[in-house]
């Protein structure tokens, strides 16, 4: 058996683009290459590709060679609604106390308030998280709580993720399980260690544009090992019951993703102007300071990497988690754990307020960082949709009304920015998710189920 296979007997190879794209977008970079060359083993140099796609840069617009991308910025335990919602709505509005850190990016985002998560609020925090991100009431049996369906990031990754190196990247700035599900009990855990994340994304196998493709005979050998693992999974699956077969399906998907990734490392890196190694390498460790985790430092170094992961087309979807629902981190300057404070602090919750402002400051860092990367005739941020949200509004009562939501980037001009959109009728939060899917050119007829089901997008934020 040859260690240098070019295709596997089970059809493991780059996935064909599944995008149901109604906008006449150009085919994906790799799909395009394969189509042109009809499977030839010779890979064309990227300058030629650029010449075909790009005259003066405008052909590189969104949805074409420059893909649309989605990022989730999530934090747990909610906000203080009375200090979050701007006093007026529409285009001419003043940011609230808690949103003030976003001032420099105000023209590139929409504050969306007044939406409700429509699932029954039976499982504190989990109902909100599952209801918002998957549009379905989470499942619970004997202490095991799990989302009932895929989260928005994975719905998107399933459509657009196959063209990049990683279907999605999940990162967390504190100890976290993340909020990304493929389905029940099938979670995508985040990377919580910045250095490990760096090794994965920008380690030995990373090539900057213009560099030669990786020549490494072990890549083929590793693929032959993964092919053997796939064979084992299929053999085993045939003997098991339905539930265990589904679990092994997830395993198999991961194995095939990795096989595909290894194959792509042997291709020339994409010629993307904005792509380079992040300027700063993360530290080996981020130890707690006075018992407090370094959430800010960790978040920022991860966001620097995520910006380049997008710019280098290593992924088109990320989930970034500041902290989990119910997490009890000690934030700097606070007298108790985050979750404790949301429940125990009275009045207008000055300490929860301070924590929320710190979290929004990290969102602002993300937006400014992405906006600093020039891409095509705009910025990286312009070509993204960044959804900032939490699983509840007022943590004290686990409220699922008036959810805290910031929608930034405009997604190549498909989503409105520079306004505070307020729903006065408690609109279904699923409608926002549907608008995002449609902005991503994913033709989804609906989002959510039961009380959270919708076939209508949130027209007020669509262009």
């Amino acid at each position: 058996m040859s260690p240098f296979r070019t295709s596997s007997p089970r059809g493991v190879g780059p996935r064909s683009p599944k995008r149901s794209d109604g906008r006449g977008a150009a085919p994906s970079r790799r799909g395009f290459l394969r189509g042109v060359l009809q499977g030839s083993a010779i890979f064309v140099g990227l300058p030629m590709l650029e010449a075909m796609l790009n005259g003066n840069g405008t052909a590189l617009a969104c949805g074409g060679a420059i893909p649309k991308r989605f990022g989730l910025f999530f934090w747990g335990n909610g906000n203080v609604p009375s200090r979050w919602v701007p006093a007026t709505d529409g285009a001419d509005y003043t940011l609230s106390e808690q949103l003030a850190p976003l001032l420099a990016m105000q023209h590139k985002l929409a504050v969306v308030s007044g939406l409700s998560v429509k699932v029954p609020n039976l499982l504190p925090h989990t109902s909100g998280a599952g209801g918002l991100l998957s549009g379905m009431a989470p499942l619970s049996s004997d202490g095991n709580e799990t989302f009932a369906g895929p989260t928005i990031d994975q719905v998107i990754a399933a459509e657009v993720g196959g063209d990049s190196l990683y279907p999605s990247i999940q990162t967390a700035a504190s100890d976290s399980n993340g909020q990304s599900y493929n389905g029940p009990n099938s979670q995508n855990p985040p990377e919580t260690d910045p250095y490990t994340l760096y090794e994965r994304l920008f380690g030995a196998s990373f090539r900057e544009p213009g560099e030669e493709a990786l020549v490494d005979p072990t890549l083929g050998l590793r693929r032959s090992v993964l092919d053997s693992v796939s064979t084992d999974i299929l053999t085993l699956q045939a003997r098991l019951g339905a539930a265990d077969r589904a679990r092994l399906d997830q395993h198999l998907t991961g194995v095939r993703d990795l096989e595909t990734r290894l194959a792509r490392l042997e291709e020339d890196p994409p010629s993307l102007e904005a792509c380079s190694r992040p300027a700063t390498e993360p530290l080996a460790e981020y130890p707690d300071v006075a018992g407090r985790p370094q959430i800010t430092a960790r978040s920022r170094v991860m966001i620097d990497m995520l910006a380049m992961a997008f710019a280098c087309d290593q992924t088109r979807v990320f989930g970034h988690y500041i902290c989990d629902p119910v997490s009890n981190n000690l934030f700097p300057g606070t007298s108790s754990g985050h979750h404790n404070l949301t429940h125990d602090e009275g009045g207008d919750q000055p300490e929860v307020n301070a924590i929320t402002i710190q979290i929004v400051t990290e969102l602002a860092y993300l937006l400014e960082r992405f906006d600093a990367v020039a891409e095509a005739d705009g910025t990286l941020l312009d070509n993204c949709c960044i959804l900032g949200c939490s699983e509840v509004s007022l943590g004290q009562t686990h409220s699922l009304d008036d959810m805290p939501i910031v929608l930034a980037g405009g997604l190549c001009g498909t989503l409105r920015t520079g306004l505070h959109y307020r729903s006065y009728t408690g609109d279904n939060a699923s409608s926002l998710m549907l608008s995002i899917l449609r902005g991503m050119d994913i033709l989804a007829p609906s989002f959510g189920s039961d009380d959270a089901y919708t076939e209508a997008g949130l027209s007020g934020i669509e262009v």
Partner: protein, 536 residues
């Protein structure tokens, strides 16, 4: 169910093979048992490490994070039956497999465990096949098929051709073994026996026994009993259980169970404000866990004593960190030493340990609710409803009128919307208020004496010690421990139809004077551990 029976040697014939269990007391007939469908468990992180320890020798460098474990029905051991492997997990297992393979092949002693033939410098299919014949069944806990062996020999050979070295080549076959679902999962299907009943086959049973009693893989002796099928006989399975409980690895198994039941893994990320708790230090969580585990080891294996004693005894194990926090002399200069806490102090048993007191507290304070909840749910297996949404949960700040937690949480107990749940949790936790949020003793809070009195389901207690005794003698404690061990052993919550069997094991535990070794043996030899239903 407690019908008169021939004493001492009881023939248990309940729709399964005749399982002869010797018990030192009269025992009711084992209830009729209907087997449950098989499940496939994923190795937990600890089991992954233990498995590699046993296959290749301890001390391998293994990444600190693989696929996260998840707690279901109170246990990671049950979560292992529903979790899978994510895309990130696949990457991590791949990287770990190559790391381990490299370490094994680079170390002459570890390398010897792979096989005895001396390979050629480059490709050597015959030697690769011999090595796979040794390490393959140990890693996959079953013999490899011819096709599998040929495939892996092919991987090793192709890699040796490319890389020019047998060892480098074989590392790819080893990495294939270690990434396979046959290694990362414990698949179970069952086989129809001579009596027509579906039971776990000998390899599956060997694997069930070893991960239950050792938290690791079958050793050579178990593999022999699996390979020749003798493990399916009552005599051999009973003898193997006895041998396994006498082996040092049973201590590892007990530690895994105790840590799982008592949530001790969470001590790795103990969050405490060091400006409030001056005895907080980086290694405190690990020390606290070790104290609890050493106490359990001593009680269960050295003494084979009444497991309820773990809640009430003054004998314990401390290192200097804990001794300072507990304000007692350190029994050892380095590491842990056995010691006896003074009779006059209020600290006794597990409920007086940091591993419970600090974990079931907030980062800057105690939590009467968390402590009460843990005792109800984990030690007594009583179900509490999740808090309803929409409640204002704020509790008032400490003040002159409300100096101690008892006054501050009074609102929980007076407001009807809170009291329904909090009245079964907070009064228990108030009995432990003499221990601060880290577990240090205090007589007063805000210059006001702490009142630790209360009652547990009608059993009055005057202080923390009396509370611990009330928990230990509570009617639900033994059955709860039994239910938890049953779930731990089988990897799932018991089915309704299994309740009579679970009760029967609980009765056995009581009759056996709460000796945990008895219960481990009883469950391992029992029908739920050996019979299986059809694949669904």
């Amino acid at each position: 169910m407690r019908a008169a029976l021939s004493p001492l040697l009881i023939l248990l014939a309940a729709g399964c093979d005749e399982v002869v269990v010797e018990v030192p007391f009269e025992r009711g007939a084992q209830p009729v048992y209907t087997a449950e469908p098989p499940i496939t468990r994923r190795l937990t992180y600890d089991q992954y490490v233990h498995t590699l320890d046993d296959l290749f020798g301890e001390g391998l460098v293994i990444p600190p994070s693989l696929e996260p474990d998840s707690r279901v029905s109170g246990l990671y051991a049950v979560g292992a039956s529903v979790t899978s492997i994510s895309a990130l997990g696949v990457e991590r297992y791949e990287s770990a497999a190559f790391d381990v393979a490299e370490q094994v092949l680079a170390d002459p002693e570890r390398r010897l465990r792979l096989g005895t033939c001396s390979p050629a410098e480059g490709r050597d299919d015959a030697c690769a096949e011999e090595w796979l014949g040794t390490i393959g069944p140990a890693a996959w806990r079953r013999p490899l098929t011819t096709e599998e062996t040929e495939r892996l020999v092919g991987i090793a050979g192709a890699a040796a051709d490319t890389l020019g070295s047998f060892d480098d080549g074989f590392s790819y076959a080893l990495a294939a073994l270690l990434q396979s679902p046959w290694f990362l999962f414990r698949p179970e299907v069952g086989v129809v026996g001579d009596d027509g009943l579906l039971r776990y086959d000998a390899w599956e049973l060997a694997t069930r026994l070893s991960y239950f009693l050792w938290d690791g893989p079958p050793d050579a002796e178990l593999r022999v009993a699996a390979a020749d099928g003798t493990l399916l006989t009552d005599e051999v399975v009973a003898a193997q259980i006895d041998r396994m409980l006498a082996d040092d690895r049973a201590r590892r198994g007990l530690r895994a169970f105790v840590a799982d039941m008592l949530h001790l893994a969470e001590l790795d990320v103990l969050t405490k404000d060091p400006t409030i708790f001056v005895y907080m230090s980086e290694g405190l969580g690990a020390s606290a866990r070790e104290q609890t585990l050493l106490d359990a080891e001593a009680l269960v294996f050295a003494d084979d004593g009444d497991v309820r004693t773990l809640l009430t005894n003054t004998e314990t194990h401390l290192d200097r960190t804990l001794a300072a926090l507990y304000d007692v002399p350190a029994p050892a200069r380095e590491g842990f030493g056995a010691t006896t806490l003074g009779e006059s102090g209020g600290r006794r048993g597990f409920l007086g340990q940091v591993s419970f007191l600090a974990l079931q507290s907030h980062p800057t304070s105690t939590s009467v609710t968390l402590r009460g909840k843990f005792i109800r749910e984990v030690l007594l297996c009583q179900n509490l409803p999740t808090p309803p949404a929409g409640l204002n949960t704020a509790i008032p700040e400490a003040s002159e009128e409300l100096p101690t937690m008892r006054e501050r949480v009074a609102r929980h107990l007076e407001d009807p919307s809170c009291a329904g749940c909090h009245q079964v949790m907070d009064p228990i936790g108030l009995g432990l208020e003499n221990f601060d949020g880290l577990g240090r003793w205090r007589n007063e809070e805000n210059d006001t004496p702490i009142d630790p009195t209360g009652d547990l389901d009608g059993d009055d207690f005057a202080d923390a010690w009396a509370l611990a005794r009330a928990v230990a003698v509570h009617d639900d404690f033994g059955p709860c421990l039994n239910r938890t061990l049953f779930r731990y052993a089988t990897g799932r919550a018991e089915a309704d139809a299994e309740q009579p069997l679970v009760d029967w094991h609980a009765d056995g535990l009581k009759e056996a004077e709460y000796r945990l070794q008895f219960l481990m043996r009883d469950i391992a030899a029992g029908p739920a551990f050996r019979l299986v239903g059809s694949v669904e």
